[in-house]
């Protein structure tokens, strides 16, 4: 149907169709399965790379302050630019946008802008004079099929993670706009009312066969395409079916229902900051850290589910300035440093009863990050001072906390329950256990600490409801949060309905759709028979 993508032989095309008739696809999926989605946030706010199967899309959000449009003086604006980079496909040419590029841009525009997903009124600073103009650039990096859906997810992820500088009105006449740099005041996120998710279906063989999330070879064979943009509340934001084979209207309705359940799934993934989202993308390439054991342990510990937005954690972590000791830092070991840190973390998991000790604990954690050598865990067990007046309950929670906070690799868990947990105090490292620690306490940013405190308080609030013990619970969990902020691939899960950080979503719950995908497929079979 399209001019892009690989040129397939007739045999290949026949094979794809024959497989679909048997409800199989050439990459092993079933007709209504979508490919695995991974979202990678970059260190910069508002830049994200999304990969679904082989399709790779990058989205970047930038904002500038300027005069609003004259016909809408109390609103900011959102402009979307879609770029089909020539690196994505040999048939993408520089310059003139092709048909597909224009279509994709329009679908995303309709879903995001025209459905008022992004709140533009909050972007206005001074009516008629100053408003934020948000610019969203979508770059297609690799055409692996189904560019519309992936580009849409990239756009949403980028908008969710973007933070614009906070500004206030001041000056002698009250008409001046002061933009606060990020060091002075925390940047503010955009307000998204809902998340419109695009779901694409491909039709084959005169409309008889359908598949969701087509890959690039399937796109070369398909006869028609339908894109449904729907949000998790069940509102249809856009439907696009431009030409191609005719499809019965009952099929269209069925596709919309399937799209709704898919949208709920993808919305959950986006809101939870997909488990695959790496905080350090380059690390993810070389150290494919498996999050499965960690998730299992978390599942065991918590009866409910707590997810902290991985993006929020990453931003909090970025804020805390680290000053590595250049004399002793060994850059060849930089990467192993990050991995081995997790082994040390386990021992430093703390339970403190008050603010000071908590800070001490955080600085402890910071110091361990700067070390380039990891000592054996036996040494640390001996060195931990037994100065905790620990309650038994607290110690138990601590044991679990430390197990959870650290990585599963090479961890000695039997030593933890035996010894009293570490609770601040003089540094373990100053005795020369590790070289080069003589520089003492690292510099901590007050703002970073505030943000970090907020994150941990947020977790406290949510866990307070579940935890019976007010004494041992919150502080230890807060420190677990402390540990988890610095742990690689931390996935401490917040309660679903409380999200103090990040964009504000509509409070409507994600209702599960009565019709599941399996039912939809079964219904089709019944109808045919």
């Amino acid at each position: 149907m399209n001019n892009y993508g690989p040129k397939l032989s007739n045999n290949e095309k026949e094979f794809i169709l024959a497989a679909l008739r048997a409800e199989q696809r050439i990459d092993g999926r079933r007709p209504f399965d979508s490919r695995r989605l991974s979202i990678t946030f970059s260190k910069q706010d508002g830049a994200v790379e999304v990969q679904q199967g082989q399709t790779r899309v990058m989205a970047v959000v930038t904002g500038t302050l300027g005069p609003p449009f004259p016909d809408r003086p109390t609103e900011g604006s959102l402009v979307i630019f879609t770029e089909f980079s020539p690196m994505a496909d040999p048939s993408f040419e520089l310059g003139r946008p092709g048909e597909l590029s224009v279509e994709l841009g329009r679908i995303i525009d309709r879903g995001l802008r025209e459905s008022r997903a992004v709140d533009t009124e909050s972007l206005c600073v001074l009516a008629g004079r100053a408003a934020w103009q948000i610019r969203l650039d979508i770059h297609i990096l690799d055409n692996g099929g189904n560019l519309v859906d992936v580009a849409n997810i990239a756009a949403l992820a980028a908008l969710s993670s973007y933070r614009r500088p906070d500004c206030s009105i001041g000056g002698h006449d009250g008409q001046e706009v002061i933009v606060h740099p990020p060091e002075v005041r925390e940047p503010v996120s955009l307000i998204l009312h809902h998340l419109p998710i695009a779901v694409t279906f491909a039709f084959f063989a005169d409309g008889e066969l359908e598949a969701l999330d087509p890959s690039v070879k399937e796109e070369a064979v398909m006869g028609g395409r339908l894109t449904v943009t729907v949000n998790s509340q069940g509102d249809v934001c856009a439907i696009q079916k431009g030409g191609g084979v005719g499809v019965r209207s009952s099929e269209i309705i069925r596709c919309i229902r399937i799209a709704l359940s898919k949208a709920v799934e993808v919305t959950n993934q986006l809101k939870k900051a997909v488990p695959d989202s790496h905080q350090y993308p380059y690390l993810g390439e070389f150290f494919p850290i498996s999050e499965v054991p960690l998730v299992l342990m978390l599942g065991l510990f918590f009866s409910g589910c707590y997810w902290v937005d991985a993006n929020a954690l990453e931003r909090a972590r970025r804020k805390v300035k680290r000053h590595p000791d250049h004399k002793n830092a060994d850059f060849s070991k930089n990467r192993t440093d990050v991995v081995s840190r997790d082994v040390e973390m386990n021992e430093v998991g703390v339970a403190s009863a008050n603010q000071d000790e908590r800070r001490e604990a955080v600085m402890e954690i910071l110091r361990t990050e700067d070390m380039d050598e990891s000592t054996s865990s036996e040494e640390e067990d001996d060195d931990i001072p037994d100065n905790l007046g620990g309650k038994k309950q607290e110690a138990e929670i601590e044991a679990k906390t430390q197990v959870v906070a650290g990585k599963v690799r090479g961890v000695k868990s039997e030593g933890i329950g035996k010894d009293a947990p570490f609770q601040g105090g003089p540094s373990l490292w100053d005795d020369g256990v590790v070289n080069g620690s003589g520089t003492g306490h690292k510099h901590l940013d007050a703002d970073a600490m505030n943000e970090f405190d907020q994150v941990s308080e947020a977790i406290q609030k949510t866990t307070m409801k579940k935890e019976a013990s007010p004494d041992g619970g919150p502080s230890s969990l807060a420190n677990m949060a402390a540990a988890s902020v610095y742990a690689q691939m931390s996935t401490v899960q917040p309660v679903k309905d409380e999200r103090p950080l990040g964009p504000v979503f509509a409070q409507g719950d994600l209702k599960p759709v009565p019709t599941s995908l399996l039912d939809a497929v079964k219904k089709q079979k019944k109808r045919k028979k």
């Binding site: 082989q54 790779r56 690196m87 770059h139 690799d142 990467r335």
Partner: protein
């Protein structure tokens, strides 16, 4: 802002004057491209994809060698002069490196995407008191008196059999393919630079 640095003093991110940022290279990221790679030096990330040799028509067709085409994409905004300049410099550098005479009548396209800030090859900057500092970050580049970007040929043993003969007494890898400078520095400085960078 440390405009003057003692030779042993640490820079803002903790490196000494002679230390590079950690390097990371990933190849084969993209499926559709014939070749692709991503190069990272901490916060500086550049992604590149290659298509070719492929059909090229009309004026661009050269019957003796392949036509190398460079496309540079910034993450946001329309391409401006800085991007055009980068394209020209890279094209001239790669013209020397790529064995284009082996593929006449074809075109090779190389597309760069810079999601973050950018730096090319081995670069170094000169502070006000004449200290040469390697691999500056973007913030450092703004504040230093001058910065230089040099491209050296690699030892050609890896691609072509046999070493080329030394040119005027120096081995071939001491030659400079491309040199790009911004700012002012004295003539002595440039010779010190040369010696410093030969590693």
């Amino acid at each position: 802002m440390a405009n003057s640095l003692k030779p042993d003093e640490a820079r803002i991110d903790g490196r000494t004057a002679n230390q590079l940022r950690p390097l990371l290279c990933t190849r084969g990221l993209l499926e559709r491209a014939h070749g692709s790679a991503r190069w990272q030096q901490e916060n500086t990330i550049v992604m590149a994809a290659v298509y070719g040799p492929k059909n090229v028509s009309g004026k661009r067709e050269n019957s003796e060698r392949a036509t190398v085409e460079i496309i540079w994409k910034m993450k946001s905004g329309l391409p401006g002069n800085a991007e055009k300049e980068a394209e020209v410099i890279i094209r001239r550098t790669l013209d020397y490196i790529v064995l284009s005479a082996m593929h006449p009548n074809t075109g090779i396209s190389i597309i760069f995407q810079a999601p973050a800030l950018c730096a090319v090859a081995v670069s170094c900057a000169v502070t006000t008191n004449g200290v040469v500092v390697l691999d500056p970050t973007k913030a450092e580049e703004k504040n230093f008196r001058a910065h230089v970007c040099l491209v050296f040929p690699n030892r050609p043993k890896s691609t072509v059999a046999g070493l080329p003969p030394p040119v005027a007494g120096e081995p071939a890898e001491h030659g400079i393919i491309t040199c790009l400078t911004r700012g002012a520095m004295s003539v002595n400085m440039s010779s010190i630079l040369d010696k410093k960078l030969l590693f």
